[in-house]
Symmetry: C2
Subunit: 148 residues, 2 copies
DNA sequence: AATATTACTTGCAAAATGCAAATAAAAGGA
DNA sequence: TCCTTTTATTTGCATTTTGCAAGTAATATT
């Protein structure tokens, strides 16, 4: 058995490549980072700029500009919160949602391909393992959150 | 059970944060990217510049400059290959090796912390799952390699 | 009402990126 | 062998990305 860090490093690198491939596929040309932003806006419920920046561990001033770019690209919208006018709520435009969905389907295809080389019970074990790992990392204090 | 992509996305994000934390800890101030470069040079046997760039999926011209920076920082050395003088072999300096080792130990501590919240048999299952996953992704054609 | 905090934006200078082109060495073909 | 092609690496250059410091505007606290 290789050491633990090696296992994780290799796995996350491969997953990173997979993610990167999905960005450039199918004509739309977005960066890996933009793909992650689309993903998070799609996932979270009425997220603010600050929330997504925190989730991704990106500096807020940098993120502010990344959003400006994506608004110009017509992938993302922002509208002021009705209750607190300092806050801007992010959402995907129709085009942004389309791109996010395309990427999602592409990722699903890749995963299906990977897991097609595994028995159903192995697949089950692997997915449950990752789920357990995520749960454990979530409870495990300061180790797996953005710095500061 | 959440969907597969979500599981992976969350896991790799957490692992990314963990990695990032290790860069800034303990006084040395290197970027996440530099940490990955140290890791790969340490891991591979007499790697060339091209090899590491390929492993990390980084553009060769960008990588050439990243290495120049790390040589100036006295973390990395390069020396021409004796057999093929186009090639430069990378290695860590004493200081680079020290930093790589510190990061490695820090990562090990984090992993120990995470897995301390798990039963020994769960830990075993999780690690074997990741190993299986890596093996499967390795054989599974074009899906998990750098673009082009 | 004055002060502090929070959410977000902009100025600016530094760093990182990648394409095109250059160099230099090795490999392959006639 | 000479000529062409390929490979490994570097540099020029223009663009993009980054993050700190400082700003605005709105809410929260005192």
């Amino acid at each position: 058995m290789e050491n633990v860090r090696d296992l994780f490093q290799i796995m996350t690198r491969r997953f990173g490549f997979l993610n990167k491939n999905c960005c450039t596929l199918g004509g739309f040309n977005i960066t890996l980072n933009q793909s992650h932003i689309l993903y998070e806006i799609d996932r979270q419920h009425q997220p603010s700029i600050q929330q997504i920046a925190d989730t991704l561990g990106t500096d807020i001033t940098t993120f502010s500009r990344q959003i400006q770019t994506m608004i110009k690209m017509n992938l993302v919208k922002k509208k002021p919160d009705t209750a607190d006018r300092r806050i801007f709520i992010l959402s995907l435009t129709t085009e942004g949602k389309f791109v996010a969905t395309m990427i999602d389907e592409q990722m699903k295809m890749y995963f299906d391909e990977i897991f097609s080389h595994m028995s159903e019970s192995d697949k089950e074990t692997v997915l449950q393992s990752i789920q357990l790992l995520n749960k454990t990392m979530a409870t495990s204090g300061s180790c797996c959150v953005p710095p500061q």
